[in-house]
Amino acid sequence: MTGGNRSGGNSIPALAIEGLRAGYGRGGDIVRGIDLRQDPETILAVIGPNGSGKSSFVKTLAGMLDVRAGSVRVTGHDVTHEAPARRVSAGLAYVPQEANVFPNLTIGENFKLATEFLRGRAGVGPEQRERVLSLFPELAGRFRARAGDLSGGQRQMLAFASALLANPEVLLLDEPSAGLSPKIVDQTMEAVLRVREAGVTVLLVEQNVTAALRIADEAVVLVAGQLSLRARAADLRAADLGELFFAKVV
């Protein structure tokens, strides 16, 4: 979160995923061999039909679901078998779809908890806090408010801000528009753009295809745990996606 220059495709990718496979318990694979490379300071939208494995994919990246095969690298560092907190220390922050703040804690306490137990992450401290507050001015001056009393949109902002306090290279967002009104969805997506402009790479898993494609640089379509398409977001239209979403994947 240090600059605004987009890097070209030849630099070290912010996120590099190879042959990723994951699933729950003793069940079959939900994520079925995903290869993906994301350039720094871009927004990559991951879209797909319900049950396609989008949330499982992002949970695997965040370390909430064990990797069965493949690898995950963040700016060249292998985090495949790291615990969730170690991934944050390596520069990979995650905002879950729901329950993404601590509702019984205040905004100030959520801010403190965002970094006080992280070890070995550079760029974490008062300056980063000021940068984050400049991105989300609506949170400034409300540190005593309880997170559980915030509106859905405000809670998303707090979740983003808490994740960004760890000064991540890559921010994983799992359906940030879920449960929000259209107006708040627009505000949330604008916040995602601000995050990208601040120099953070964003991987955005989103069910709201129109909203996601409006802000993304690129998009991948996930069907049955596999990538079925990768394209520039501007070249994709929601109307074209029906066939892809419901196409049978071998």
């Binding site: 879950p96 601590f102 306490e109």
Partner: protein, 287 residues
């Protein structure tokens, strides 16, 4: 008469506050009702009795021994029992805590027998004030509990450990992404809970004779207090304990004292029927 009963009830409520707070902390952080709270209180009373009468330590030093003993027992129980069951539902953990309760109570019975015992402390005359009779033990209990509650409040509200405990109580998986080690927090919670219950055991031993059933006498009021306040709410547990303590003592105006535990049972029954989240439940906050 009424004022004396109120005072006695207030002190009884303060005594209940420590184990009720401990019960609600375990429920909040570890998500189950610890049925072993009474047996842990018994262990605390016996540990202090051994330190006081067998080793010749002063009562404050014996109280420290009791707090450490029960804290270590809590950590050991977590290591041997609860951590292994962490992915089971809360009923399984509750049943495991019932087993732990039997084990602890019978360890005390096996090594120290069934005889009633008491601390080696000088007998002091009660104070008289405005017609009220105030025992030295009541003053000791009130001061000890108030200091413990202030320290517990500072720990939970203003320390990184307290924030981590509340974060794990709120959302364990999100806490993990913030670097909070749930395993470590569970152990520290048991240590804190054990210390609180151990001290409560000492205060109970000042209030009545120490025997293997001493904890069981407090078990139902402790649960009633925690449920009344709203399981998971530390402030609610303390408020609930005061209400239960005062209500039980004041019930002597209406019913024989032998039946005063009926107050706790009635509170539990009424709450389960009409307000199962209690008065100050943490779940009142929107998720």
């Amino acid at each position: 008469m009424v004022a004396q009963l109120f005072l006695n009830g207030l002190v009884t409520g303060l005594l209940l506050a420590l184990p009720a707070l401990a019960l609600t902390l375990v429920f909040g952080v570890l998500k189950f009702a610890n049925f072993a709270v009474g047996a842990m209180l018994t262990l605390g009373a016996y540990a202090a009795w051994v330190a006081n009468t067998q080793l010749g330590l002063s009562l404050p030093a014996s109280a420290a021994v009791a707090a450490i003993t029960v804290a270590l027992t809590g950590i050991l129980s977590d290591q041997l029992v609860f951590e292994r069951l962490k992915n089971r539902d809360s009923i399984s953990l509750l049943v495991a805590s019932m087993g732990l309760s039997l084990v602890l109570e019978n360890i005390c019975r096996f090594f120290l027998g069934n005889a009633s015992r008491s601390f080696d402390v000088p007998i002091s005359r009660p104070m008289r004030w405005e017609g009220l009779r105030i025992n030295q033990e009541q003053i000791t209990t009130a001061l000890t509990v108030c200091v413990c509650l202030v320290l517990a409040h500072l720990l939970l509200r203003h320390s990184p450990l307290g924030r981590a405990m509340r974060a794990v109580a709120d959302n364990p998986s999100l806490a993990a992404t913030r670097g909070v080690d749930r395993r470590l927090i569970a152990r520290l919670t048991w240590a804190l809970v054990g210390a609180l219950i151990g001290l409560a055991g000492v205060l109970a031993g000042l209030d009545r004779s120490i025997d293997p059933q001493i904890g069981w006498n407090y078990q139902i009021p402790i649960f009633a207090a925690a449920i009344l306040g709203g399981l998971g709410s530390p402030v609610g547990a303390v408020v609930g304990a005061l209400v239960i303590g005062i209500a039980e003592e004041m019930s002597a105006l209406l019913i024989p004292t032998n039946y005063r535990q009926i107050v706790s049972f009635t509170v539990i029954l009424v709450l389960l029927l009409f307000r199962s989240n209690g008065l100050l439940s943490a779940k009142a906050v929107r998720k």
